[in-house]
Symmetry: C4
Subunit: 237 residues, 4 copies
């Protein structure tokens, strides 16, 4: 007989499955920390590898630590895609988005304490010579890939296993885009620093529409892929 | 009695083993993404560590995610070596190569959208002071090592385990060669960017002959090594 | 029936559980090596990514190797937080702090041998334009996060699994702070190099109060979090 | 009942335990590749992080791939320490050292093909302002730590698990020493490039005596440590 390995820590050792308030707290803290460490590096003079590492490394440990509790969205695009998948209740969807938004503003406030006024606090922006369409393409294509990898890995792995490849996709995406359009891949990554530093470019819509559209398109691709394969479209995440 | 570990996710959670069209889709997407993120970094001003990381990190998560489906070739050299090993059908061999080629062109097209005309889109090329023979030596030697490690690790590990050492060999190889001959290690890594950007150097044959020859030589070495050891030359991958 | 995974190496293969003298030795060596490799890089001309990697990588392998023996504190803040948790005896607490202090001075002495007089041996210090309060905020906030992640991961993982996310939090924290306040996150990281190189800034209290306060606050947060969830406040680490 | 996890691949899937000629081949190839990729990066203009990564990454995948076959020494210091431990036969000791030496020369020859005459092929050397004693201290201290970690991790882990922390110690050591004394940590790392490029400094003895002395001292420390703990001095590696 071949006993299966029982992954024993799916709820991170707590007695009950995580209640909603604990999950919302994790989403708030996680979104805050992603922006705090990511934008906190982008707000300083930086090179491409350093700022990409900053965003990727924080993603790995956030998914590793908080993934088993809240699912580790930290991203409006991810929450909306999971909402469309139909497994989240309305109250959960709203709660996740509100918690993430508060976390985003909180990160901006922390960065304001550290860096003071007079900087954009790492708000992403198009670099000279990068058109709006090219910036949008970076946001959209990278989040399509990111969402596909998130669905693929979290469907069949524990969060601890998935943390590493997900963080590496973030790394690859920032290496491609961080010196071109600032690379948000996440509406909240733009939102908090932009609101707190009062930095608004007319092209900033790409950091909202790009990632949300990318996650939805990646979700559709993953459903088509499963349909193509298994002959059933719905899937459990 | 010592029960064996049952690797539960060899088919990534899908009900059936992957059908050919799913595997070809993975090869197409994987080859495209390797070139998209790798050449996408090489097309910008870059330093050696950054461009090497770009190629290595995308390799890790591609093998992690798509390895269990298609085997994670993404490389004409790998497919030809597996073909010579005799476990692939003719239709599979042709399908893999065609899918990879389409992925390569698609990556070139995506990069053209992002960077426009007037760049070589990261097409590898010999740097000043590097002779053709030295460039060929880098391509050949590094792919001999890469193929040996691929055969070694994927024979006795899951793709999730093998993804990390394979990506590290790619990292080491690019640290050696990326600032000398551009380092393709893969005919498709040269093909797509070269075709789309219309960049053709007379020395570009090294990016085709080098990796294919290297993979075949590495395959022969691995068979000899197994023969030396176990007294049988064929092996299951 | 689902057999649980038996973690076989919790005491790293030794026959008995680690006696106190072995644990103190590990704390002494571990604290020494963290400072030796971290400050040893900071004492040279360095860029942000390199010095952050130096501190993070040594953390990973120290926790991996010595974590199963002594718990891998290497930090007065960690030991004080674990002391407040009430599972350590008075003799253990004093022993841990003394061993860490000796390790810290020893690291300073080793660095003096390597670099000679005339440098600050990597003693952290506020950079121009960074106020005391901002430096304190970096130390405090980063150690709150670090301690929370340490409690979270070591509670429900082996040290070998926890080593990686803990090291990544250190990486993220140094990417945020190393070029701003020097980033100690650990009183001993400041103590040894400062004493041996006789470098005392009037603002150096932030490297002592910040991390100790941060670890205590992080500990309180983790207890509140568990109370909120499970209805019991004490926890086993 | 709690079934233990059976690590099934200790001999990397081959039917018999590795015969001596296979192990010697792995030592030859592994030593060659460590120097090929490490010195191959050091021979070019490089920064500290890049050259440290080059040596560390190749170590990880070499130990991962060849560790289960030959033990993954690739270092005269390691072989001599294991010889003193008394578990290796005379023929094995001589075979390992000869194979490593051939691999070292082979790596030098390959580098000569790639870089031509007129460079030192990455032969380590003291940098201006670094005294012989400081260079020796770097070699000695770092290999004491490296050997202790090798004994510690390989005693109680599979090579696949040990590859990562061992590679990280190499990373930390090169971040400390690569821009000071060139950092060999391994007599063969100096030997091959020095012989082939005919680069001999009068201070080069530190790259031979330092690592061998460091490995022997680390071995003594580990035996004392085990004696202190378990009351028996001999150990199985």
């Amino acid at each position: 007989t071949f006993p299966k390995i029982v992954v024993n820590n799916t709820n991170n050792g707590f007695k009950q499955p995580p209640p909603l308030h604990a999950r919302l707290l994790c989403e708030l803290i996680g979104t805050c920390l992603f922006i705090f460490f990511g934008a906190g590096c982008a707000a300083k003079p930086h090179d491409l590898l350093t700022v990409s590492a900053a965003h990727a490394l924080v993603t790995v440990w956030l998914v590793y630590v908080f993934g088993p509790v809240s699912g580790g969205h930290f991203n409006a695009g991810a929450t909306i895609a999971f909402a469309v998948n139909g497994k989240m209740k309305i109250i959960e969807i709203i709660g996740y988005l509100v918690a993430q938004g508060i976390g985003s503003i909180l990160a901006g406030a922390l960065l304001l304490c550290l860096y003071g006024t007079g900087t954009s606090l790492g708000t992403p922006g198009l670099q000279p010579g990068v058109t709006v369409m090219r910036g949008f393409a970076i946001e959209f294509i990278c989040t399509v890939i990111l969402s596909f990898v998130i669905f693929f890995t979290t469907s069949y792995n524990t969060y601890k296993e998935a943390a590493f490849p997900i963080g590496l996709v973030v790394f690859s995406s920032f290496l491609l885009g961080a010196d071109r359009d600032g690379a948000a891949l996440n509406p909240w990554r733009w939102f908090g620093p932009a609101v707190v530093s009062n930095t608004f470019q007319s092209t900033a819509w790409i950091y909202v529409i790009g990632p949300i559209g990318g996650f939805l398109f990646g979700y559709i691709l993953f459903r088509l892929y499963k349909l193509l394969w298994n002959g059933r479209a719905s899937f459990q995440i």
